[in-house]
Each structure stands twice: as structure tokens, then as C-alpha cells.
């Protein structure tokens, strides 16, 4: 047991070492190869022949994989037991470990011929989802898609409500026990399936044919209205909503990138400027031969070396002719405004002084 103090952990060095190991590329390589091998084996085991012949390999590899996954779980838990549960991908790991243990638990509890055992085996294919943790591209994609999840969910709920209304309507209209089409509209669940089949416009003409054979009024209207609403309007709305959200998230992503880059650039520029100023002031302070009072005195000697015939070719904006023209024009503008203001002030003062002179006269 590791000793744990309230304020911190005593085994900080080891913890740091384990953390470094977890972040390193060796660990990633191990995990990625393990998971890919596991996925490949899961595919192999679906075939009965291979399962029969390579039974021992199957068992050994299974033990190996389970041990690797649980080791990873324990190591990550050891590094930080509390923060561990906040990361979604760690929860995914825990879920997969639980899924792995389901077949064994079921076998133990319910015996070997439990009919739902193959479902538990089928869930083993979910192990490949662990691969997502190690691929940054898919992670960003999922975070981007996750933001559209809310909209997707609301559209789906709306669709479900619509189907509910039409299911009850259809059941009442076409599902009556005697004359009705029991196979497709007999109970609510089957009605739902029929409506879903209409919404995805797959084989709906056959369903419509059955209703036609029983001479229902309104069946055609019902079907056509539902198909227009669900398939054309709703599912197209789906596409539209996804397009807008994908655009938004991509734009936001790019904007954030740009802002980040801009900030980094600004910071670097500030650092360079500060360094320059520090060096200049440092220079000014350490001059002991002659006491320079200002920057200009400091560079007096340098200025003397400058010759008029030495050319300097510059192409940045601050020394270009358009800039000089613009700046001088703006300065002239400023000058005129200030002169105008001055005139106005003189006038104000003049008027006030006139008023002041008139005052005693009135009195």
C-alpha cells in the first residue's frame, strides 16, 4: 500500500516516473499493437474451425490481453486516482474491461448454455474502441462531432414524437383485430417498425400494397403525408443541421488556432522588445568612460561613422514613401484642427473679456 498524506503523496518520484512512462511513445506503441492484435484475433475467433484448431492460442492470447488491459487500468489509476474518473476515455477503458468480463461472469452464473451468451461474445468487438484514445485526429473529430450531439439528439427526439403520433393513428386506423393489417399495424412496436420503414423509404410500396388490398380509405394519404414529413422534411433537415454545425465547429476551431498563433507571435515580439530595451539601459548604465546622459549621446560616435553615400535598401512599411505621405498628411490635419481650436479659444476668451468689460458699465 502506498502511504498517502493529506497534503500530498509521499511517492512523488515514482509517480512522476510512471507518468513519464505513460506519456512516452513506447507505451503508445505497446498499446496500439496490443489492441490491433486483439481486434484481429476477435475476427479470427468468429470462425468455428479456427477456434477449434487454435484453441490453446486463443486462451493464452485472451489471458495476455486481459492482463495488459488491467495493468494499464491499474497503472493509470495509481498515477492519479481522483482525476482518473473525469476523463471520458478512461471511463471507456473501464467499460471495456467490464465488457470483457461479462462472458465469464455469465458462464459462471448462468451455466454454459445460456442463450444470450453469443451476444456477450459479440460485444467483444467493442474492444477496438480503445484505439481511439491513441489517435489524436479521431479524438479531435469526436470532440467536434460531440458538439453537434445535442442538436442531433433533439432532431431524433422530434422524429420519434412524430412517429409516435402517426403510430397511434395508424394503429387505430389500420390495426383493428378483424379487418386490419395485423402483421404491420397490430401492436405499437410493429407499427413503429412500419413507420420507420416508411421514413427510410425502403420497401414502402409493399406495405402500401397490403393496405390497399384491404381497401382502407385514407391509407394512401396517410402514407404519403408521413413520407413527406419524415423522409423529405425531417431527414433533410438533419442534413442541413449537420452542415451548419460542422461549418460552425470548423470555423471556431480555425479561429481558435489563429488566435493562439497570434498570441504566441505577440508574446515573442514583446519578449524581443523587452530584451532590446533592457540591453540599451544596461549599456547606458555600464558606460564608465564618459557619462552619457541619454540614448542620443550614446550613439553620437556611431552617428559620426554614418556616411551619406552609404545606401540602405529597405522595403518595410515604416520607411516607405506612402507611409511618410500618409503620416505627414495626418499630421497636417491635426495641426489645422488644433489651429482652428486655438482660434475658437481666442474667440471665447475675447467674447468673455468683452462681456467682462460691459458688466461694470451696466452696473
Amino acid at each position: 500500500m502506498r502511504p498517502k498524506v493529506q497534503t500530498g503523496r509521499k511517492d512523488t518520484e515514482f509517480q512522476a516516473f510512471v507518468q513519464r512512462f505513460l506519456a512516452g511513445s513506447l507505451f503508445k506503441m505497446i498499446m496500439i499493437s496490443t489492441i490491433s492484435l486483439n481486434a484481429f484475433f476477435v475476427v479470427l475467433w468468429t470462425d468455428y474451425e479456427i477456434r477449434f484448431r487454435l484453441f490453446r492460442l486463443l486462451e493464452i492470447s485472451e489471458i495476455l490481453f486481459v492482463s495488459i488491459y488491467s495493468t494499464e487500468f491499474f497503472i493509470k489509476l495509481y498515477v492519479d486516482p481522483i482525476v482518473y474518473w473525469k476523463d471520458g476515455y478512461n471511463l471507456l477503458d473501464v467499460l471495456i474491461i467490464i465488457i470483457i468480463s461479462i462472458p465469464y461472469a455469465l458462464q459462471k452464473i448462468k451455466g454454459k448454455h445460456y442463450p444470450y451468451l453469443n451476444i456477450a461474445n459479440g460485444l467483444q468487438s467493442l474492444r477496438i474502441l480503445k484505439l481511439i484514445t491513441y489517435s489524436r485526429g479521431i479524438r479531435t473529430l469526436i470532440t467536434a462531432m460531440g458538439q453537434t450531439a445535442y442538436t442531433v439528439a433533439s432532431v431524433l427526439i422530434l422524429l420519434f414524437l412524430l412517429m409516435y403520433v402517426f403510430a397511434i393513428l395508424g394503429f387505430c386506423l389500420f390495426g383493428a383485430p378483424e379487418m386490419g393489417d395485423l402483421k404491420n399495424w397490430g401492436n405499437l412496436a410493429v407499427a413503429f417498425f412500419t413507420l420507420f420503414s416508411l421514413a427510410t423509404v425502403d420497401g414502402w410500396t409493399d406495405l402500401q400494397q397490403e393496405l390497399d388490398n384491404r381497401n382502407f380509405l385514407l391509407s394512401r394519404t396517410f402514407t404519403i403525408v408521413f413520407i413527406l414529413l419524415a423522409s423529405f422534411i425531417f431527414l433533410s433537415m438533419f442534413v442541413g443541421v449537420m452542415i451548419i454545425h460542422t461549418e460552425d465547429s470548423i470555423k471556431k476551431f480555425e479561429r481558435e488556432l489563429k488566435v493562439e498563433r497570434h498570441m504566441i507571435l505577440m508574446e515573442e515580439k514583446q519578449v524581443i522588445l523587452k530584451r532590446q530595451q533592457e540591453e540599451v539601459s544596461h549599456l547606458m548604465q555600464t558606460q564608465q568612460n564618459v557619462d552619457y546622459q541619454s540614448f542620443s549621446e550614446l550613439v553620437e560616435n556611431f552617428k559620426k561613422t554614418l556616411q551619406h553615400t552609404d545606401p540602405m535598401v529597405l522595403d518595410d512599411f515604416g520607411t516607405s514613401l506612402p507611409f511618410i505621405d500618409i503620416y505627414l498628411s495626418t499630421l497636417d490635419n491635426q495641426d489645422t484642427t488644433i489651429y482652428k481650436l486655438q482660434e475658437l479659444y481666442y474667440e471665447i476668451v475675447h467674447v468673455l473679456s468683452l462681456m467682462l468689460e460691459e458688466l461694470p458699465k451696466q452696473q
Binding site: D202, P311, M312
Partner: protein, 472 residues
Amino acid sequence: MATYHPAGCMQLPRANAIRSRLIDIFSLIEHLQGLSQAVPRHTLRELFDPSHQRQLMLGDQHQLVRFSIKPRHVERITHARRLMSRLRVRCSQRPPLSLWAGWVLEHPLFSNFIIFLIFLNTIVLMVEIELLESTNTKLLPLKLTLEVAAWFILLVFLLEILLMWTSNFALFWMNAWNVFDFVVTILSLIPEIVVLVGVTSQSVWLQLLRICRVLRSLKLFARFRQIRVIILALVRALKSMTFLLMLLLIFFYIFAVAGVYFFEGYTRSTRQDLEYHMFFSDVLNSLVTVFILFTLDHWYALLQDVWKVPEVSRTFSSIYVILWLLLGSIIFRNIIVAMMVTNFQNIRNELNEEMTHLEVQQKAGIFKRQIIQRRQNLSPEALKSSHSKTDTRTYNVTLFGKRVFAGQLDWETHVHQNLPGLMEMDQEERVVWPRDSLFRYFELLEKLQYNLEERKRLQEFAVQALMNFEDK
């Protein structure tokens, strides 16, 4: 020179920026520390020369080199021009063969001829396939001409590839379209060679390879610029969707393998009336079935078929199918559509960006001309009235007071709108400054900032004084 700002005065950011620019251009810090010349005196070519380089590095203690880099828009330099400026070519007696080959390839007559041949190839192939089965003896000369034409076209294509090789062997392989051309031509060449050598036709493979003749028509794609643009746009869109497609593949895998296990009962059932019996038998079939469900084809029929078998639990099978339909067919397909749309929009925006860039350049050019005109209009009048200050003021007042620019904007807003465009403009013109003038310019600019600041403060004092008049 005395101090031009009292010590302890506030630091103006603009003045500081100007001073740091001065320091940067003249490399004052290195100079004051007694280190280097700080004037750019060497060119890149000298630097690459080893002896000169050693000399330079030894002279400079820090062994630092400062580069001045300016991005320029260089127009495309063709290979022929590069060749022409090589000493080896200029000093040889006869021009090299690659120059001639390049000239032939660039010539419009030749490229049109190739396009015509590609069309002819397609037509010849179509007619040949139609006539393949007929045994009409009158058509025999026609068949002969078609065969000869096919051979001729193949030879011309080979010749074109040889020309490209003589023109520039290395560059040929770097262009993906050329490699595609090469592969297609070789693929259609192989069956002919095999027939010539005399190997009795292993019919299936040879037929397949003959069909590769058809692929020659695909060479057309490389010729027309529009098609190239569309294909490039498609490739870019696909590239940005790689992760999405990877995620989709992962989901395909999950549902395929799960499907094999879930429908084990259905596969092993002994009922005779199951239509889709083998659809979940092993992983490959399951994968195809998952794809069939992805395209929403007969999914309800499949589900109802599965329900016929009592061993399969209805809930789990319906959950499987409905979940896959929602996730794969509805959500994923729409995500793919959405990403395609955004990608095409981005590509279109990028193309538009180039156009807007050009427009901004034009506007900046117009702005520049306006400024220059303004200074020119101003200077003669300023010279005229320079003797009297009030006159200048009034002149300036009349000139600037009523100055409204095209578009009814005042000077400030006009400048602010056009300044970014001007700053980003491609500076093709460089200004040559004499060194001391440049230094003086920066000095004066810095002083100017402080003076302006002082004037502003005096202004505020005046206003304050005015406001403080009280009525006593």
C-alpha cells in the same frame, strides 16, 4: 544633443517602437558592444562558398548570420528557361535534345494531336468491341484498319512518354499525372507483348489486360484543366475526411463482428424458407450485410426474415439493426455530406480569397495614387503661402475643411479603411535611403511622438484653464 525627454517621463509605446526599429536596423546593440559591422555586406552565394564562409565565420565571433528575407511572387519558371541559362547549354555547340523535346511537348499542335488520338482510341475500341463477335467477311478490312489504328496509337503514346523522358527524366516521375499515364500505357502494352511472344492466351487475364486499353481514355483527365481542378478538389476533400472514414471503418468492423455473433442462431437455423440465410455466416458476408444495411436496402425484409427464427431474440436483433441504421446510415452519411459541403465551400473561399487579394491590391494601389496626388496638390500652395502663417492656416483650413473624398468619407476614416490593404500590399518597390538620413529620420520620428504628446497635454491644460473661469 541634450535629452529630449525629461528623465522619469512616461514612456510612449510608439516612441519605443520607433526606437527599437532604429536599433534593429542599425544593429546598434552589437555595435555599441563593439561586435560587428552590422551592415549587410554579403550575399547568399558568398556564404555558400566554403573558403569565403570560413573567413566570414572566423571574423564574426558569435558566428551569427542575419538573413533578410522577403517573400516575392515569382512567376512560373519553365524548365526550358532554366536550361537555357545553364552554362553547359550555352557553351555547347548544339542545343541538347531535351530542349527540342520540351519544345515539341509544349507546342499546342502536338498536345491537340494527342487529345485527338485519345478520342480516336476510344472510338476505335468501341467499334472493335462491337465487331468482335461478327464473322462477316466483308468487314475484315475494317477490322484490319482498326487493329492497325490501335497499334499506331499505342506507338504514339509510347513516343510521347519517350519524349517526356528525354525532356526531363527526374521531373517526369515527380508529377502524379505522368506516372498515371505511364502505368496505363504499360498496362495496355503488356497483352500485346504477350501475344507477340507467342504465349497461348490464358484468356481471362489477357482479356482483362486488353480492357486496359480503355483506361487510355482516362489520360484525357490530365489534359483538361477543369477536370484537373475538380479532381484535385475531390482529393483534398477526401484527405480532410480521412479520420471520418477511419471512424466509419471502425464502426463497420464493430457491427460486422458483432453481427456474426448475434445472428449465430439465424445462421445455424434449419428452416428452409429463409431468404437471407447466409448473410451473417462469416465475417466477410457479415461485412457485406452491414454495408447493405448502411445503404438502407431491404433492411426491413432482412429483419422480418430474422424474426422468423425463434432462437434469435427479437429485442437484440431489432436493437442491432435500428442502432446501426441510426448511427451509420442516418448520422454518418449526413456527416459525410456536411464535411464535403464545407470542404467545397472552403475551396471556393480560397479561390475567392485570391480574387479578393487582387482586389485589395488594386484598391491599395488607388489609395497610394490618391495620397501622392494630394501631396502634389498641396505643396505648390504651401510654398506660395509660406511667408504668412495665418495665410497658411486659412489655406489649410479651406483645403482641409471642405475636403471630402470620393465616397463622402473624411480623411481619417478613409485612411483607416485603406491602411491595412496598403500594408499588406506586395512591396515591389524598395526605397534607398542614405544611412545618415535614415538615422536622422528615425530620431526625428521619435522626437515627434514626444512633442505630439506634449502638445496634447498643453491642449488639455488650455481646456482646463478655460473651464475654470468662474463667475465671481
